[in-house]
């Protein structure tokens, strides 16, 4: 593994979004991953519709919550084409699912994998480099007050409640850390990102890890 790796350096990560008072973190994390993998395939970096996932994923609850894995399973089974964010913009509330003609532009996934990488964060870092950003579920209770630095304490590895996207890692300092993109706007944390210590499953970051293929 290199000492430092961040998909942002390759200009394939879209800007941090703000989910406002919608509990749609699960949709933001997977859409963020799909956007990057689509760009890695040589396409332009596009913002895809989070609202489409919030409104249409049938086994989830829109702004009242959902699961990254069940949403990815739906996207994969139906081969749903995710349209651009500008076509189906974020409204911060659950709405009626809009359908688009088959001929219209959209990005569909070819597959996904979801694994528990606890005690295997080196392998998880390799997966990040091989497959693209990783959608993970963490305990984010203490993140309410986070401003910066590397989180090492005050969260649990058994109470996952918030979905985010890992875009990279940094092992150059005393404390190696994951670079994590959140969906609470750029005024939160480190321009919308948070750093989590690597190697100890802090906040349960390695318990439920999903990668997409396009």
């Amino acid at each position: 593994l290199p000492a430092k790796f961040d998909w942002r350096d390759k200009k394939v990560v879209t800007p941090v979004r703000n989910q406002l008072s919608c509990g749609g973190c699960w949709a933001f994390s997977i859409v963020g991953g799909i956007e990057t993998v689509y760009a890695l395939k040589g396409h332009p970096l596009l913002e895809l519709s989070v609202q489409q996932v919030i409104d249409c994923s049938p086994r989830d609850y829109g702004c009242n919550g959902g699961s990254t894995v069940s949403a990815l399973s739906w996207l994969n089974e139906i081969k749903v084409k995710l349209v651009q964010d500008s076509e189906y913009p974020f409204k911060a509330e659950t709405g009626t699912c809009h359908h688009f003609p088959n001929s219209s532009f959209g990005v569909s996934i070819k597959g996904y994998e979801a694994h528990d990488f606890s005690a295997q964060e080196e392998e998880m870092a390799q997966k990040l480099m091989d497959s693209g950003p990783l959608a993970v579920i963490v305990d984010a209770v203490s993140w309410q007050d986070y401003q910066g630095g590397i989180i090492q304490h005050h969260c649990s590895s058994s109470e996952a409640n918030h979905a985010v996207l890992i875009t990279g890692f940094d092992r150059t300092g005393d404390v190696p850390y994951w670079i994590v993109k959140n969906s609470w706007g750029t005024t939160w944390g480190l321009d919308g990102y948070v750093h989590i210590k690597m190697g100890a499953n802090i906040c349960g970051i390695a318990d439920s890890v999903a990668a997409v293929f396009l």
Partner: protein, 85 residues
């Protein structure tokens, strides 16, 4: 400063204003606790942000809505000895 920075429009003296002010004070106590880790390598800082006038329960109810799922343990893909060679 907080009201200005985060565009809050609670009417001064209102019940809502008092409730939010109390929650803001609670958040200051929480920041103090979270920042008081004795670990020398701890670099995380906690302080005022857009969530400082929310109770912990409100924060959980609004923002922490991901449903956890049990996924299989990762195992490295098997490579035959011929491939490894």
């Amino acid at each position: 400063f907080f009201f200005k920075s985060y565009n809050r429009t609670y009417r001064q003296g209102s019940e809502e204003f008092h409730k939010r002010y109390k929650l803001f004070q609670e958040s200051l106590r929480r920041h103090h606790f979270l920042s008081s880790s004795s670990n020398a390598t701890n670099t995380a800082t906690y302080g005022i942000n857009q969530f400082s006038d929310l109770s912990s329960e409100e924060f959980r109810t609004i923002y922490l809505r991901a449903l956890p799922v049990h996924v299989p343990k990762y195992s490295k893909p098997y490579k035959s000895s011929r491939k490894r060679l």
